[in-house]
């Protein structure tokens, strides 16, 4: 089975303000983007399971056609730089997304 990183060109995470983390999954071909979009695999439920958070903490999970992208935004478990937090920019939280398994079509 293939993983998302074999389809996507960019998979990244970053702060969207100090209280949210946002993830971008970007494709460089419409075909790859449409394959993932049509598979319906990227859902708030999946994101919650991957990161071990509640469904309610996934604030946004949607596709954005103009950029051939998916956008996911979650509430940060701890705000940027508060005690218990280790990634001030939030830019190293993306890795579990790369391993999302994509069923063969």
């Amino acid at each position: 089975m293939a993983t998302l990183s074999q389809y996507a060109k960019v998979i990244r995470s970053k702060n969207a303000g100090p209280f949210e983390l946002t993830f971008d999954i970007m494709f460089d071909s419409r075909e790859a983007y449409e394959t993932i979009r049509r598979s319906g695999i990227i859902t708030a439920r999946l994101i919650a399971r991957i990161y071990g958070i509640s469904h309610n903490e996934v604030l946004v999970c949607r596709s954005y056609d103009p950029a051939l992208s998916f956008k996911i935004t979650i509430r940060r478990p701890v705000s940027s730089d508060d005690i218990g937090e280790s990634d001030v920019y939030g830019c190293q939280q993306h890795v579990p997304l790369t391993a999302i398994e994509i069923p063969d079509t």
Partner: protein
Amino acid sequence: MKQLTGLAPSGSLGSGFNLPAFRSALDSGPDFIGQDAGSTDMGPYYLGTATPFLPRASYKHDLGLMLDAAREREIPLLVGSCLTSGTRPQLDLAVDIVTELARERKHSFTMAVIDAELDKGFLKRRLGDGGIESLGPDEDLTPDLIDRCPHIVAQMGVEPFVHALDAGADVIVAGRACDDAVFAAVPVMNGFDKGLSLHMGKILECAGLSAIPCDLAEPLVGRIERDGFLVWPGHPDHRCTSLSVAGHSLYERGDPGIQPGPGGINDLDHATYREVDRRTVRVTGSRFIPDPDYRVKLEGAELAGFRSIVIVGVRDPVLIGQIDGLLQEMRERADTRFADCEPGAFRIDFHVYGKNAVMRHLEPSTDVAPHEIGILINVVASTQDLASEVSMYVRGSLQHASYPGIIATAGNLAYPFSPFSVPVGPAYRFAVYHLLPLKDPCECFPMTLVQV
């Protein structure tokens, strides 16, 4: 006016930028230069202490190049979120640098200084009017919370910039500002569509991050027209593509289509991105939808305490296998040893590098067996002395702790250097991140004109 051209030298003031590319960008005849000079991204420390992220000389270097270019062409220079968090002391530093540069390089101009640090009395009086909404903190905005934050800033929209330009400013040095507003002000003032102007501002604020190769230190040019805008990089060999520009529209935003800001939402769901030549993209369809209320975002950081850290390494597999339990034991020992301190006087955090230090709560891989780990002992306490004392106690306890199966009884920790405990200074946390309704978009952003 059919079109207006804006130039963003770099995505972050003080990081330097590519000079030949800046010169080529200047050849396209910009009508203004805009520069973002701050963010909350680097953490609450800068907002709490009102100190800049970079050394003064780094800002002076970049500002000197921009000021020379702007004055030579007699076009406005707009700098927002000076210098890092947009507080008054950081704004004063920017004013000091610009004034010094003008004197050294014999420029004279009208400078507008726009303050974004809120008067606490004003803010407390506004509490009674209601309508203040948290964008993250659990705590409501109260007089007590306001007093706990040394500096509270509001993010200005385009209006205070337009007000300064109307008043004849050649150079605008502003406190905390929306990144896009720095670039949207001149277009909005000249009657260009607000949705397109803000969207172009969103693309320009990070400069070369919207291009290929993606580089914050590469200049970017935007040209707004009546029904769209163009963007291209200053560097002749770099390119903007429909995907690089559309992709940047998502960057650091919670939702790609619905982007809220002061006074309304910028709707990018119907935006189109089209490559008009090898390196230029034309964007259309962005649409600003005004809110009934004009609201600005407030930012404030409160003192969390004083931090001391110890960095150590562990190579022993028997110890690594039991590290979680052992660290919990160290917390309990410290609680007993410092039982006479007030509750909450110190907090101990362990960042176990090699295990789950980077993702912490979000880490799905929990069954790893690293051959070595690094432990950052991070103590935040009510005083610097207490933080150092607790951090040294914890590392001393861990150094000589016994555990089942121990084979090395001479010590558990490898220190990369001495001294072991490093006092880091004050630690802050973001505590104010709320929306405040305004009666007038300029009411908490007083502007001063200075003849330089």
